[in-house]
């Protein structure tokens, strides 16, 4: 499996800004008075609450269960009382509210009963997947796809398990710190994943700007006497941590458009997910906290914190010496793909890897017309023609944008970052995708409406026919009674 690394098209060399937040060890964030837990912190169906307002919950207790296959449960990050179940502002680009469970913490941190599995190697993979599902583990790299699904090979042979430790976005260092501090947990988690997938090979792909983390992983591998896991450094170039890009760099294979990595025998997980799986399986602890990088120009003491889900972002900013009121922009995620939250009071969720707080932002330059310079096309890691996508999205010609493979866009932001005209390209693509999905939905709805209407017309016609038939029958009966008389009269 070892071999030369490939190069994905496009990409950017960006200033890392990572050392700011790696100066001190990770601390536990203070326990907030209230935890706000959105029911929808993952890709898939919203979880369904299984608690009532007023109910006392224990740390680690499931408070919302997964609804359907692609879904994930939510657990109480600390012990306390459920005080409210209702719509609260959540971290989302829309700034809208969504159903949340609010827990008032009691400060005792009393755990519920845990069921650790020590000898995972003797366990059936499907049992392990179920444990991981029940622990509410989702991809912690940022997308939040339920992890147990990606640990199910579905009858396909998984040749290579890739652990994404690239962390290619500037500013974000939570995975870096996790690898430095909890390398052994990550390795144990990877072993569980390998067992579940029966993967022949395993590579940890890490950008070469994280030598300490790499050293920690290598040391842990030696200490634990584990073979078959290879730590490979990849050149630091955004977006090397994109799943498709990392797979290409490490294996030379391209994930087919509209396809999944498993279709080419590869499964890719984030390193933080591996650590969470270890905690879930060998300690029986569900996913209730994560490392979060708090950094940016508005944060005097940038650092990483271990944060319970549901903790309001404002409290983390305060713990890092920032005044939430003076923050002009608070981005959840990195500067390239993260989104600005509408208020600092929204909670940290499973996919919150970084809080990037800035103040004194320069005014955004006004967008100029596209001069077709092609800088975007050079930067695009998917080899798209961003200027054509923009042209058609701008003109509302969504089918043409689709012909230019709009849906292969991973929204990494490279094109917009290098655009000399400062066109918000990614927003145009998101807009176009949203419109296409909406039209698709409307089309489906129209089809249903047509069907229902036609069914109704048919039913009415049938009713009418039946009525007429009855009528005719009655008439005939009536006629039958009178007819003989009539005929005889003639």
């Amino acid at each position: 499996m070892s071999g030369k690394l490939r190069r994905f098209p496009g990409g950017l060399h960006l200033d890392g800004h990572k050392t700011e937040s790696t100066q001190c060890a990770v601390q536990r964030a203070r326990l907030p008075r209230r935890l706000i837990l959105p029911l929808h912190q993952h890709i898939g169906a919203e979880a369904k609450s299984v608690v009532m307002a007023g109910e006392r919950v224990l740390k680690g207790q499931m408070i919302a269960r997964a609804e359907g296959y692609v879904s994930a449960p939510v657990h109480a990050p600390s012990s306390g009382t459920v005080v409210e179940i209702g719509d609260r502002p959540v971290p989302h680009p829309s700034g809208l509210s969504a159903p949340c469970i609010v827990i008032e913490t009691d400060g005792t941190e009393q755990w519920c009963e845990r069921h650790p599995v020590q000898d995972y190697i003797t366990q059936d993979p499907s049992h392990l997947r179920n444990l991981i599902r029940e622990a509410g583990i989702v991809g912690l790299g940022g997308a939040g796809f339920p992890s147990f699904i990606k640990l199910n090979p579905l009858g396909k042979t998984v040749d290579t398990l890739i652990l994404n430790a690239a962390e290619c976005e500037p500013y974000i260092t939570c995975d870096d710190m996790l690898m430095r501090e909890r390398a052994a947990e990550i390795i144990h988690g990877i072993q569980i994943m390998r067992h579940a997938l029966h993967a022949a090979h395993c590579i940890i792909g890490i950008e070469d700007n994280k030598p300490e983390a790499r050293a920690a992983l290598v040391r842990a591998l030696q200490e634990l006497h584990i073979d078959g896991i290879q730590v490979t450094q990849v050149p630091t170039r955004y977006p090397a941590g994109g799943e498709k890009q990392l797979i290409h760099v490490l294996t030379g294979k391209e994930v087919p458009s509209n396809g999944l990595p498993v279709h080419i025998g590869i499964v890719c997980h984030n390193v933080a997910t591996a650590a969470a799986i270890y905690r879930a399986v060998q300690h029986g602890e569900p996913l209730i906290s994560r490392y979060v990088t708090v950094t940016g120009s508005g944060v005097p003491e940038p650092r990483n914190l271990e944060v319970l889900f549901g903790t309001p972002m404002a409290e983390l900013l305060e713990q890092c010496g920032a005044d939430p009121a003076s923050v002009e922009r608070l981005v959840m995620g990195g500067p390239m793909m993260g989104f600005g939250v509408h208020m600092p009071g929204v909670p940290v969720v499973k996919t919150t890897n970084c809080l990037l707080a800035d103040r004194h932002l320069p005014a955004a330059p006004a967008a100029m017309p596209c001069i077709r310079c092609g800088a975007c096309a050079e930067a695009c890691p998917a080899n798209l023609l961003p200027q054509q996508l923009y042209w058609h999205a701008h003109a509302g010609e969504f089918d043409k944008a689709q012909n230019y493979n709009l849906f292969d866009c991973i929204e990494c932001g490279c094109c917009a970052a290098v655009c000399p005209s400062h066109i918000p390209l990614v927003q145009y693509y998101r807009y176009a995708k949203g419109e296409i999905w909406t039209r698709e939905r409307e089309k489906q709805k129209a089809d249903v409406a047509r069907e229902r209407h036609e069914f109704r017309l048919a039913r009415l016609a049938q009713d009418k026919a039946e009525r007429e038939a009855r009528h005719a029958q009655k008439k005939a009966e009536l006629a039958g009674k009178t007819a003989p008389h009539e005929t005889t009269s003639h």
Binding site: H40, V90, H92, P93, S94, L96, S97, A98, A367, A393, H394, I423, P424, Q427, Y428, R430, Y431, G434, E435, W437, T438, R439, E442, K445, A446, D447, V448, A449, R450, R452, H453, F455, R456, L457
Partner: protein, 183 residues
Amino acid sequence: MLSAIIAFTALAAVFGLILGFAAIRFRVEGDPLVNKIDALLPQTQCGQCGYPGCRPYATAIASGEADINQCPPGGEAGIIALADLLGRDPKPLNAKHGTLKPKMVAVIDEPLCIGCTLCIQACPVDAILGAAKQMHTVIEQECTGCELCVAPCPVDCIRMEPVQHDIKTWKWQTPLEAAGGHA
């Protein structure tokens, strides 16, 4: 002069024959036009176009009886789609048939409902549930927002409300709208 006329006439005849033959030989049996038009209509079945439903309107367009700009729920996108299909120039919505409105859904003020079933009979897609002397309710998912149920209600307990955007249906705006509509 004469030879030129003869030559051109001969050419015209030959090409005419070829084209005529091709038209018969390579004829494509497509979806009938009415179906194609109907597929582009929003299936609101509201009748604002002046025809009793989307399919009759599609038939009328196909026969040249109706214009393509009589469908307010289809909006501008709908008119453009029809224009593309029929190879015509798009035109603005005919105001006689209504104006552009956000998507609506019917809501029954349930305490007021007397259970007369008139709205159930009016609904073109069977999206209202209820029985005589029983309270009625709208199946929100199936409601097309056609407003046909509003007028028949004897106690005026049905109102149209704009469809609420929640976090699941939210989508990114175009930067043009965000910037106030100026490109």
